[in-house]
Amino acid sequence: MSQANADIVIRAEKISMIYPGTIALNEVDYRVYRGKVNVIIGENGAGKSTLMKILAGVQQPSKGTIYLNDEAVVFQHTRDAAAKGIGMVHQELNLFGNLTVAENIFLGREKQRGLLPLDTAEQHRVTAELMARLDQDIAPSELLSNLKVGQQQLIEIAKALADEADVLILDEPTSALSKTEVELLFKVIRDLTAQGVSIIYISHRLEELMAIGDHITILRDGHFQSEAEVKDIDVPWIVREMLGSDPVSNFLKPGRKFGEPVLDVKNIKLINEMGHTLVDDVSMDVKSGEIVGVYGLMGAGRTELMECLLGLQEYSGDVDIAGQKVTAKMDTSDRIRLGICLVPEDRKKNGIFPISSVSNNMTISSLWRRLKHRFSIDEKAEAEAVTSAIGDLSIKVSSPDIEIRALSGGNQQKVVIGRTLLTSPKVLLLDEPTRGIDIGAKADVFNMMVTLSEQGIGVLFSTSDLKEIMAVSDRILVMSGGKLTANILRSEATESALVSASAQGL
């Protein structure tokens, strides 16, 4: 027993996490090997983040025990986990651009006694040591905002190491990094494992996992699925284990007919202020009645592509909407009138008007359609449109005058979709339309997309969920690093082909 466990730093046994209504983790056994890169992977909602939050003390499991070096431990708080040497680097960086590197690393545990001034010299000394350990030439007094994103990521790692972390959890550390920055991170990871630090590595980029991982653990729907040594397996095996063999549900009836292209995009290119190419020479089309899914990882450029189409970004390239040429100076409202509309990704930030009524939320994009004498709002026509949209989309709402923030996420999303439909769009863009809504509402959203396409609307939607993309697309586009890396019919698509296309050029 002890012989076998010598290499295992963390052993989690029968961990369950039960939320009201759902089970996020169901009796999961998990092992972390000492001095190795332990990769954990699974679809969205498989439970990886929950498991990691439990290990890092952010949440407490409903059931189960964690053994750290064969000793049962209970983490009430992230501080408990940190004290035992478990550090976590979250996907979103928790750093402050207006502070120096050293100040960031020591934030909340500054070297200071009583009323004496900060011991800056000591902080800088420790920071310099950490930088040396990470093999980085970064001055402790450098302002954080002067660092590149990749370097900032390393500062997060340094922060964890400053706590003498023995186990380091990295949550999708490469999602915002460029290729060279990823190389740098990998080098740091290898150095750390050589120093005996155990790494837990979460990522969706399978190619990356194959490159850096030693052990792989796969979760599926809250269950432990399988565990293997990376050297024994390949990408198709991972995809199979991740998605399972149950047939992907298909919302599309056979024999679907498409018309003329309603959206025709040629050579769209978007370069941001920092000089990064976010959308790289993308050309594609959507036909009337067709559902086109865009698959890609975070940062692949899907959102940016949609923002270009809607005129929210300054891009180069040609866009035709319903056969009409879109000029660069046409703003969002002009484009909406041409027949394109977007259901944005982040509903809270970009979708809803929280303290406005459901009715006002729904009609804000299409007020110009219902005017009397081209000036005043025709309130009767407005009320009729709202009532019929609420019925069509089966939105559960007691009255259209209620504030939208009182609705559930799924119903809010339906209201936002209703808003786009009232503009009578020819092309409907949906950016991650199922994010943050429950399974039932997801199926509703998919059925709605199919119904709309049958009415002749061209639908372009994006998702990072393989099952979703296979369930509801006539054609699948894959984006990676801003480029279009695949354009395949649903009938000819395989999951592993999509996965490898989504990792091209990374």
Partner: protein, 354 residues
């Protein structure tokens, strides 16, 4: 069984009690207006006599012009501190045009425009100053507070410069120059009520119509609620904001014309800190400084509450210093009640939704 019935009746009575409270909170500006009216009627003999009411409403009208104009600005989560200065400047421009005319030195003449021309010129100037605010705020990303603080100083300085700090007097014009009649705006009556009062109600009606029944009005509320969503929904955020500040400047110009016409003189320091009274009226009327929520009717009632409070306290003989204290307390109370209401309303909406 009996217990459960009891519980049921209790919970329903609690709920109806809560919805009653919510209704009371929603109507709070009305209730406040009613209460202070009752209070002063009781305390000040002859408070509700027609003549004193008309004088009071005339005072209120000035603040109401400003408050109505700034309501849209505040609904977009902005602020306009320059309206008091615009009021003063517009009065000065009117006074200058009447007393000095448009001087053309190359021809050695001065043109004295008629009042029918002066009023539109002044309104356009007020609107333009507002538009400049809007352009600075949208195009150069200056925070509204700082931007309008800056224009407040610039415009106030400009009105001082116009006359070198002097007052323009004798705005009733000269019959020989054909520019008489300016003072009628402030003093003439229609059906027994001064023009200013009619103008206040008409302006309130127009602004309320814009708020409720036009695309522009909806867009204003949308921007205040969530600017990102508004942009994505096809609202021309920048242009709407420029218009919002333009309307604010225009209303300040109306107030400036009315004030200088009532006084038959224009003084460059007129309107100092008037913006604060206007903002207070808007907030009292239930418009949230965080944006997205507010009504025009509320603003009008808010202006009445502030005005009646001020005049009533004067009539009671309360010292000016205590008036300030009382006004401040009322404003803070109003905001506390507003917070309470918005929480209750949210809760009620969720209950209703379930």
């Amino acid at each position: 069984m009996k217990i459960s019935q009891n519980m049921a009746s209790q919970s329903s009575s609690v709920f109806s009690g809560e919805s009653l409270l919510l209704l009371a909170l929603k109507m709070r500006t009305f209730i406040a207006l009613f209460l202070i009216l009752a209070f002063f009627t009781f305390m000040v003999p002859g408070f509700l006599a027609a003549s004193s009411v008309v004088i009071m409403v005339k005072h209120i009208a000035i603040n109401a012009f400003l408050a109505l104009g700034i309501t849209f600005v505040i609904i977009t989560a902005g602020i306009d501190l320059s309206i008091g200065a615009i009021l003063g400047f517009c009065g000065m421009v009117a006074g200058w045009l009447i007393t000095k005319g448009i001087v053309l030195p190359m021809f050695g003449i001065a043109i004295f425009p008629s009042v029918w021309l002066i009023v539109p010129i002044v309104l356009v100037i007020g609107g333009l100053i507002g538009a400049i605010n809007g352009i600075l705020i949208t195009r150069y990303n200056v925070a509204p507070f700082i931007c309008t603080l800056g224009t407040m100083y610039v415009v106030r300085g400009a009105s001082m410069l116009l006359s070198g700090g002097e007052t323009f007097t004798g705005l009733s014009g000269n019959a020989q120059l054909g520019n008489t009649g300016f003072e009628l705006i402030g003093s003439a009556k229609l059906l027994g009520l001064p023009y200013a009062i009619w103008m206040m109600f008409i302006l309130a009606g127009v602004i309320a119509y814009i708020a409720k029944r036009t695309q522009f009005g909806r867009h204003v509320f949308a921007i205040g609620d969530n600017e990102h969503s508004a942009e994505l929904s096809g609202v021309k955020v920048r242009s709407v904001k420029v218009w919002v500040y333009t309307i604010s400047g225009l209303c300040a110009a109306i107030a400036g014309i009315v004030v200088s016409s009532q006084l038959v003189a224009s003084h460059p320091a007129t309107g100092v800190s008037f913006e604060m009274n206007a903002i207070a009226a808007v907030v009292l009327g239930g418009t949230s400084l965080a944006g997205g929520r507010g009504t025009i009717m509320g603003t009008l009632i808010g202006a009445f509450v502030i005005g009646i409070l001020a005049d009533g306290l004067v009539m009671m003989g309360v010292s000016e210093f205590w008036q300030m204290v009382i006004k401040g307390v009322v404003i803070i109370l109003a905001v506390i009640i507003d917070q309470k209401q918005s929480r209750l309303q949210h809760k009620a909406a969720i209950v209703q939704q379930k």
